[in-house]
């Protein structure tokens, strides 16, 4: 009986949003106090790890400190980041027909002319600019992730304009998706023989190795982001076919 009473309770409802507001104000107040303490207590003298990085920048093979941190001093983090991206893609990509071709041109039927023209003008420019960003990453802001994000944007545009269809579960796509992780791990473990520890680049080749890893990472990141985008449309289609199967049964 009490159970039933519990379920059918319709007394004054507890205002959930008011409680949450109080909770968030408390949390943020605490964070605010800590932040003010941190910022004001060191009076602007704290430079973090900046001196350490600028002292050792010659050893990294690149002159942009952020790229030096990402691909040399903390290369392990970037390796794991690429692995996380790959794991997410593996979790999302539905097991579709992997015998279909990697790249298919769709015949002109119901294409949007504006998108088509836009795609024809913008895609080549984006490809060139992504190449520039990849190259510029060694000495100024830029690098694999920015270039990969740009190229993924271009592939979203191509996807929307219905000109090309990429099968992200084909063998070629799988190879390109794991390419950066394989190259990264191969270089990292091969360096144990030559340099004595994981991901310690030899001084003479560090710039070249970083460029190689970044190029492979650009390809994999592009494919990963584009496949994440296309997975939403793909999951719609799959659920429709599932539904059909269910009605047949």
């Amino acid at each position: 009986m009490f159970n039933k009473l519990d379920i059918e309770y319709d007394g004054p409802a507890v205002d959930k949003s008011a409680l949450s507001l109080i909770a968030s104000v408390l949390v943020v107040g605490l964070l605010l106090a800590v932040t003010i303490k941190i910022v004001l207590s060191d009076k602007g003298h704290n430079t973090g790890l900046a001196p350490l990085i600028t002292q050792n920048i010659e050893l990294s093979g690149v002159t942009n400190p952020i790229t030096a941190v990402l691909l040399n001093f903390r290369a392990y983090d970037t390796l794991l980041e690429i692995a996380v991206l790959l794991v997410v893609v593996l979790a999302i990509l539905p097991t579709r027909d992997h015998h279909a071709p990697f790249f298919k041109r769709i015949e002109v039927s119901k294409q949007n002319l504006v998108l088509l023209a836009l795609q024809r003008w913008i895609t080549p420019a984006v490809v060139i600019f992504a190449g520039y960003l990849l190259w510029a990453g060694a000495h100024q802001p830029g690098g694999a992730f920015q270039a990969g994000a740009l190229l993924a944007g271009a592939s979203v545009l191509m996807f929307q304009s219905d000109t090309y269809q990429v099968n992200y579960t084909s063998f070629m796509a799988r190879v390109l998706l794991v390419l950066s992780l394989v190259v990264f791990i191969t270089i990292g473990t091969a360096l144990i023989w030559f340099e004595g520890s994981l991901l310690t680049y030899p001084l003479a080749f560090s710039g070249l190795l970083i460029l190689l890893i970044e190029t492979c990472a650009t390809v994999s990141i592009t494919l990963a982001l584009a496949s994440l985008y296309s997975s939403f449309i793909a999951s719609e289609n799959i659920s429709v076919t599932d539904h059909k199967h269910r009605t047949i049964k």
């Binding site: 949450s20 932040t35 973090g48 900046a50 980041e81 996380v84 997410v88 999302i92 982001l225």
Partner: protein, 98 residues
Amino acid sequence: MTSALLYSMAGLALFAIGFFGVVVASHVMRKILALNVMGVGIFMFLIALAKRNPLVVDPLPHALVLTGIVIAVAGTALALNLMVRIHHMDQSSQEQSK
């Protein structure tokens, strides 16, 4: 009031908005969006604290944020996919029960 303090407080404000959204919102989509707002607040906070000294920029938080953005995108995509999948499962189970 230094610029680092101003921007880190703005980051905290974004974090607060996102936190409130995560707790209050009932729809999963809103929760995911609020989580993203929270994440952006944290990124802004980190970048603001990288320039506490007006002359020196600490590149380490910048690299950290760059990594974080990619992870946040991946996590959001995973969450949205799960949301779509749960939505379809709900729909089909409702049709079966009819």
